[in-house]
């Protein structure tokens, strides 16, 4: 434990101490009687119990934290896909990750892959070379599971867009955006116990582009997207 880690705690304690000092001086000027004290305590306890009941009735339109088993299953699915993608084992791709697929006919013998809209690649790309003598390129786009703090946000992360411009495959990153969530916890964050901490349930999935390109086509990949 670093000694500097104590600073936020000491800071909070100092603020709390200041508040106590102010509260003490204020309370001396207020003449509280027993009846008022009892009334205050009863009302407060009533509000707390009411809050517990009201919370139960608030419609559950929020995302739910997935359990440990489901988290492990999703993580396993991602690992299997990543491995299969890296090894060009198309038959092992999980079809649930497939977003879209199409064929594109090239005019020339060169396919240029361009990534734009982000300083770092927003998609992983792999090429399967085929023996075809035609000019057709088959494109498949996948997105694997994305979890943050145990919340499945896969469908909420926009994908890169793919456009064809004269034998150029242009991958454009989505516009910068933000997703903000509240997650409530019954536990003390500072005392998170055990190895199954929800905060650690994160799976950082990716967008994958799988191309089937005839061998006679020359591919230029300036941004280094190709997964070798």
């Amino acid at each position: 434990m670093n000694n500097w880690m104590l600073l936020p705690l000491l800071g909070t304690l100092f603020i709390a101490w200041l508040i106590f000092r102010v509260a003490k001086s204020v309370s001396k000027r207020i003449n509280w009687n027993q009846r008022l004290n009892k009334w205050t305590i009863s009302t407060y306890v009533g509000i707390l119990l009411l809050a517990v009941i009201v919370y139960e009735f608030i419609p559950a339109n929020g995302d739910e934290v997935i359990d440990k088993k489901e988290y492990q299953a999703l993580s396993h699915e991602n690992n299997l896909f990543e491995k299969a993608f890296g090894n060009n084992e198309e038959s092992k791709f999980d079809s649930k990750f497939l977003v879209e697929e199409w064929m594109e006919e090239l005019e020339g013998d060169t396919l240029e892959i361009i990534s734009q809209g982000s300083t770092f690649p927003t998609a992983k790309l792999n090429i399967e070379w085929t023996d075809s003598k035609e000019q057709f390129v088959e494109v498949k786009m996948f997105q694997t599971n994305i979890l943050m703090n145990g919340v499945n946000v896969t469908g909420k992360i926009p994908l890169s867009t793919i456009e064809w411009e004269k034998d150029q495959l242009v991958i454009t990153a989505p516009k910068a955006g933000e997703l903000r969530y509240y997650r409530f916890s019954n536990e003390l964050f500072a005392l998170s116990i055990g190895d199954d901490i929800i905060q650690n349930r994160g799976i950082f999935g990716d967008t994958y582009i799988y191309l089937k390109v005839p061998k006679h086509i020359n591919v230029i990949d300036k941004n280094g997207l190709q997964f070798y």
Binding site: L13, A23, N37, M148, L159, N186
Partner: protein
């Protein structure tokens, strides 16, 4: 010495507890103020984590009880300490009792107050949940409630009560020591800081609070520490002078 009636230790302690509970009703009411201030500080979350995927930054604010708890812990320390101040200590002389009965009554009152503080602190999180969900504009993650996970909730309430009890026991012990000798007012903070900055002190701190396999083990440790401090307090209180 002769008395008109002979009371047992249990009866004396019981009457002292009833008296003290009424006396400290105001202190319990002040807990509400402390919790409300803690809740206001918790509105933006007590922890957060974030990452960026596909140009989208994902930010999760975790709303837990940590800040409320720091305030309540400090309150518990003040209450533990307050019980030992002379004006409160002298009120015990209204009863026919001993130092032991008075100490036992104080400990029982602190236990009862700790239970109340632990339960209300846990429940105060739900006030925050309702306010943020009804008036906040941020998406939320449906988190488990008392009814979804009652066993875990009970364990969490237990750990909160045990923590508050331990802090109030430390406060009580500090108060008794200061009543014995004023030099402890300065010695104890120095000792605490020394423990926190030394390696062995940090190891002890980590052994108690961090790396526990289950909440139950933590609760047992906290209760044991509380018992040690209360026992030390009883021993030290026997050395206190009689009322002058």
């Amino acid at each position: 010495m002769m008395f008109l009636s002979n009371s047992t230790l249990g009866e004396v302690v019981k009457s002292q507890v009833e008296f003290k509970l009424n006396t400290y009703m105001g202190a319990v009411a002040s807990l509400i103020l402390v919790q409300i201030i803690g809740l206001l500080f918790s509105m933006n979350g007590t922890g957060s984590s974030g990452t960026s995927i596909n140009n989208i930054s994902i930010h999760v604010s975790i709303v837990s009880l940590d800040i409320v708890y720091i305030f309540v812990a400090l309150w518990a320390f003040v209450i533990g300490n307050m019980i030992t101040i002379k004006t409160n200590w002298h009120s015990d002389f209204s009863f026919v009792g001993t130092r032991l009965s008075s100490s036992l009554a104080n400990i029982i009152v602190l236990c009862m107050i700790s239970v109340f503080a632990g339960v209300t602190t846990f429940l105060s999180n739900y006030v925050l949940r309702v306010i943020l969900l009804l008036f906040g504009k941020v998406d939320y993650v449906k988190s488990s409630s008392i009814f979804d996970d009652p066993l875990n909730s009970i364990l969490n309430i237990g750990v909160m009560i045990a923590f508050i009890l331990m802090i109030s026991a430390i406060g009580y012990f500090r108060g008794i020591l200061v009543q014995n000798n004023k030099i402890f007012t300065f010695l104890l903070p120095v000792l605490l800081i020394t423990i926190l900055v030394t390696k062995s002190g940090q190891k002890l701190f980590q052994y108690v609070f961090i790396g526990n396999e289950s909440i139950l083990i933590l609760i047992v440790k906290l209760v044991c520490i509380s018992i040690v401090f209360f026992a030390l307090s009883i021993l030290c209180s026997n050395r206190l002078e009689v009322r002058s």
